[in-house]
Structures are given as C-alpha cells and as structure tokens.
Symmetry: C2
Subunit: 393 residues, 2 copies
C-alpha cells in the first residue's frame, strides 16, 4: 500500500531511513514465526481481544500475550454465516478468523482471555467458547466506585489462578514485578512514538504512527524497531523533514480502535490534507497513557492501571473527556473526529455527550464518522472530511 | 384494537365476562391518575426500565414502582434526533418519552433507577441523566459466580441507601419483609395468569395474557382485576370456551419483551392460527417465575431472586435454556419463536446458541424474528410465521 501522506509531503524534504516503518508494515509474518517458535519451545500462548486484558499477567506466566482483534474485511462474510450482520466489524472479523482457521496466532493460542466489556463481544465469546479454551474476565463498569474496582481486582486474581492452572506454574510476586517492568518499558516506547505527534510541523503522519502497532507483546524485535522508529524521527527533525505542511489541520482521532487494514479514516484524513496528530483510541494512546505502578502490591497495580482505561463501556466515562482535553492541548488539535464502528453501541451513544463536550468545552469542531471495514463509503467520507478540514482553516 | 384471535375462535363458544380484559387494555389512564394522586399525597415515585430493578425495595421505601419501558413507535423519531437510529426500539421509545415529555408517569418520577444490563441502555441513561435524577445499579453478569452475586448484593444495598436518602426515611427489616410479601402475592397473581396458557385446548390467547401486563406495581386495582381475569378463565373452562382450536400450533415465545402496542408478533402468530401459550420474556414469565424468599435476610433474598433472572445479558445464560426446557414441556409447545428487537446484541447473538438448543435438545422447530416496533414488515412476518405453523402440523 502506498504511504498515505504522499500528497501532503513537501517535495523538498526527503525522509531518512524508513526501515523501521517497513518492518512494522509486515511484522505479522515475524510474529507468526516467533509465536510458532515460542510454542515449540514450550511457552504458553494466550490470545485476547481487549485492552483491558492485562498483558503483564500473561507475561508473568511466561506466556506470550497476543491481541487477536480482527482487522480484516475478508473474514466478515464468514462470521455473518453464524453471527448477526448488525454487529461491529471488529467482532465479526475476529470471529471470522476463528471460523475460517485463517489466523495462525489464534490457532496457536492455548487459552483465550475474554471479557465482558461490550454486549457483542460478551455474547460472541459464548459462541467461540464452544470450540476454544476460554476464560472470561468480568469488567465492572462504574469507574468511580471503589467497590467496582475491588470486584475487578478479584477477577484479575482469578485470571492469575487460571494461568497458573493452565500452564502448571506459580506466578510469584517477583515474576509479576519483572513483567510489569518489561511491559512498562514497552508501553513507554509505544507512548514515545505516539508523542511524536506533538511536533508542529508534523514529523510523522498519523498513518505512519498507526503502522507501528502490533499484536504480540514482549517480542524483542518490536522493541528494537520502535527504537529505530524513534531514531528515524530524530533524524527527520535534524533534517527539517515535514510529514505535513505546518498549516495542515491537526486532527485528534478518538473513538473505536483501528488496526492494520482498517486505517481507512486515517488515510482519508491525510489524503485530504489533514494530519492525525494523536489517536485517543486503544489502538493509539489510551492503553499506554498510564503505566502500571511499580510500587505496592503488583496485582493490585495491574488491576488499577487497566481499570482506569477510559473506554466507552464505562459509565459514566468522564476520564475520556479529561484525556481528550489534555490531548487537544498537548497535540495542538484543530478538530476532533470520532470514529464509531457500526453497531458499537457504547461509542455510538457516548458520541452524543462527546459532541457537546468537544464543541462546548474544548471549543473545537467535532465530526462523528460511523463506518465499517469496507471501502464502499470512502468517497462519501472524503467529502465530509474535506469539508471539516476546510472549516478548520 | 380488535381482539387478535377472532379468526381462530370457534363461533359456537362465547367468552364470558371480559371486563377484566377491557380494564387492562386501558389501565394506563388509571395508572396515571393513581400515580398523580399518590404523588400529591406525598408518596415517592420511582421509575425504572428493567426487570432486574427490585420493585420490592421501592415498595419498602413506601414509593410507587413504575416500569417505564417505552412501547410506542411514535416517540422513536424524536429519540433519533439525538440517539443513533441503530439502537433497539425499546431504548429509543423510552428515551423519546423523556425528550417529548409525553409520559406523565415519567414526568411524575422523583427518581429513576437505571442499570448496566445492556450497552444501549447503559449509555442512554448517561444522556438521560443530564435531565433526570438517576441512580445506576451495576449488574454483574456472570450468573454462576458467588463473587458476582456479592457485588450485585452490595449494589442493591446501595440502592436501598439511595432510596432512604431521597425520601428521607428508614427502610426497616419489617418494611422489607412486608414489601416482599406484597410483591410475592402480586407475582403469584401474574404467574397464575401466565399459567392459564397450560390449558389444552387454550382457554386464553397469548394476546389476552399479554394485555394483562401493566406498569405500576403495588396498585390494588390491578390485583383485583387480575383476580377477575382468573375468575373469567375459570368460567371459560366451565363453559367449554376455547380461545383456539385444540390443534392450533402452541408457540413458546422467547427473547425480547413485548408491551402494550408492541404485540405485533403475538398478533401475527394468532392471526395465522397459532396460539402463544407462554411468553418466556420478562414481559411474560421470566420475572415472576421465581419468588423472593421470605426466609433469611430480606435484602439478600431480594438480590438473589433478581440475580437469577435468565436474561441474555448474563454470560453464559444457561438458566434460560433450563427455563425453556421446563416451559416447553409444561405448556406442550409445538415450536419456539425467538423475538429479537433490532440492535439488541445480547438476544441477537444468544439466538445462535438458542437455535441449536431448541432444535437439538428440545427437538422443536425454532424461528428467530428480528424486527422493530413498526408495522412495515407485518405481511412478510406473516408469511414466515404461517410457514412455520404449517411445518408444525
């Protein structure tokens, strides 16, 4: 796929070494090989579908944590032979991989850790559990109540026990502390890449940043290549490279997560001359914004960090507004675009509140985009996005 | 509206006194008057939108419990000016009443008790809470885990405190016991009416039984009229009255709840010559199947009874299958029809599992009907239902 920012990149600035970018674009094949090797070497493989699932805990069980969220349009028609069509494309795509057996990472998984974050996933997991070894985490959804946190903590403790049983080992406090440290380092690298978006003029496009997200956590190659990506960015600064003109409208993208193959909206924004300076979604900054505390009880620290994720499944989800306020300021956003995957009820309804918050509290233009993984609405979306960008200038 | 069973009622059998039936058809006006009087007399008025909300607790606070679930197509277009169109009609209809101010029962409510049972409602409540005094109950959703029950129990305790604060009173243990007793009596009456469906040949139609459901609990008139309805049924038996021919296909209706004005599917089934012998939904038998225990701690008993409701928001929801098995046997069902309101993800996905259960475990024909409150698909549904009924004969 061509880089999406070719239309906005000033011709006189040439990007330095882009090998890190190339790496992440095709990292899935390295991941498949790595997971297969790790499995052969006796390590456990644990798949999951949500940012609320603590990778730290899976690493502490010396297992490989893999985010299995489906980002392919191709598996959706398979899913729809069993699931209702009126579900979010991420759920259908993920389920389609299970039906077709087309995802080696899923096929290699010894255990799936599911969660009760949204209705569609919660019930899809029941269908999936007919064929897969599954453990369900119950996420309580009143984020401001200590009692809700205590229940979540107990669920995280139960997940620890499940991992211990599954892989016949003991997750010691030291293993937890080591895993937290490793994941914090990984989160810091991801965050550092996201924070490149703060530069004005932009030194990286939103599309480039989105490319650096991957599925397998705790994989040394990814860490090396994230370092390389950061080095590339420093070289770009040194060379005066601009990923977008200084007056390109700076977009804060919020809402549902994107993934490899579902960057449609990011591509459109940047094809239209804007630049996605930060993505608030869990495919962006949401999951790495806060670290796991390295003080105190490690399991409680893991539970706390994840409980604080400002997902629309929470009620009320005031932390999302706080985060958007901070991001809009720090990344000098000119407008907010809210991506809602079709049939994602929580983000879809929360948009009613977000619209008012962005317009009235942040004083920024707001646009909600409800779409799916297909490209059928591309031209229509382009007109809408183009119009929004015009209005910001 | 004409009684829907006129086409199947044998001409030689005349129904006895139908005054109870007439009463329930227009009971809303009595309810509006009653609630207004009670409010004027100083009683608290508490609205809610879900069978999980314990009416017992509201009665124990000497307040009037009102189910506010919207069943009007007319308010949906109003709701869609703010909410996404892709939400279940019950959520939109309920919200539409809040926007239009067209429901005196809602307008009279001092407090709304909401819950986290499904994504659409959970987030709709956040929008509603901008204008209404609201308390949110968090329902944990792993029905087989004692820890989940404990959290729910704590939420029910918090609801008690909220009621005490709101209405400046103390809910004593005696008040709880009295309220449980009163609600158990009411539930027994509702259940007795539902159980009339066991008769073969049918002495009441599903449409008639559906008419007897109401909104305001603890209202003496309703109790009297339910007694009258039961008396009418006894007279019908004595007179050999048949609400449907003995060979009319007996339908177990499951899935989403119906209400006054949304009996479309029941009407169609009975217009096509079938008879709905029992409705498993919370507008049918689901909420009254189990009583609150009058032994032990009353608050725990209230929490337990409600936690046991086999709603599709639970994961997994095995109790629904158990209930369907019992109902199919006790009501001599010939087929199961599963009503799914459009965009109700939990019932929609659970249908995948239910299809297999009904076909393989119960050995009965199964049909899922996904529809909304409009009548636009009436003729199409009629063809499908007619075909199903043919296949059962």
């Amino acid at each position: 796929m061509a880089m999406s920012n070719t239309t906005v990149q000033p011709p006189h600035t040439q990007s330095p070494d882009t090998s890190a970018l190339d790496y992440f674009k095709s990292a899935i094949s390295d991941e498949i090989r790595y997971v297969s090797e790790q499995k052969a070497a006796g390590r456990g493989i644990v798949g999951f579908y949500c940012e609320f699932t603590p990778r730290d805990l899976i690493l502490a069980a010396d297992a490989v944590p893999i985010c299995l969220c489906g980002t392919s349009q191709n598996t959706i028609s398979h899913a729809e032979t069993l699931l209702p069509a009126n579900l979010c494309p991420m759920i259908k795509s993920s389920f389609g991989y299970a039906l077709t057996g087309g995802c080696p990472l899923l096929n290699d998984s010894d255990l799936l850790v599911a969660e009760t974050t949204c209705d569609g996933k919660k019930k899809m997991y029941e269908v999936l559990s007919r064929d897969k070894n599954m453990h369900v985490l119950e996420l309580t959804q009143k984020p401001d109540e200590e009692r809700a946190f205590k229940h979540w903590l107990a669920e995280v403790e139960e997940m620890k026990e499940k991992l211990e049983q599954t892989f016949q080992l003991k997750i010691t406090e030291q293993k937890l502390r080591d895993a937290i440290k490793a994941m914090n380092e990984e989160r810091r690298l991801i965050l550092a890449i996201q924070e490149l978006g703060k530069h004005k003029p932009s030194i990286v496009s939103g599309y480039e940043v989105a490319q650096t997200r991957y599925r397998v956590a705790g994989f040394y190659q990814h860490m090396e290549q994230m370092e390389n990506f950061l080095t590339m960015a420093q070289e770009r600064i040194a060379q005066g490279y601009q990923a977008a003109p200084i007056h390109a409208p700076r977009i804060l993208l919020t809402g549902c997560p994107t993934g490899h193959g579902t960057e449609k909206l990011i591509e459109i924004i940047e094809e239209c001359g804007g630049v996605v300076v930060v993505q608030e979604a869990c495919s962006g900054i949401k999951g790495v914004y806060e670290e796991v505390s390295e003080q105190g009880d490690p399991l409680e620290a893991i539970a706390r960090k994840h409980f604080n994720i400002p997902c629309s499944c929470m009620t009320p989800n005031k932390k999302r507004e706080e985060m958007l306020k901070t991001l809009a300021r720090d990344y000098q956003a000119d407008a907010v675009i809210d991506l809602v995957w079709q049939a994602c009820h929580t983000y879809n309804v929360e948009s009613v509140l977000l619209h008012d918050f962005v317009r009235n509290e942040l004083g920024l233009p707001y646009m909600k985009v409800e779409t799916d993984y297909s490209s059928s609405d591309r031209e229509q979306l382009k007109v809408r996005v183009q119009t929004l960008l015009e209005l910001t200038q």
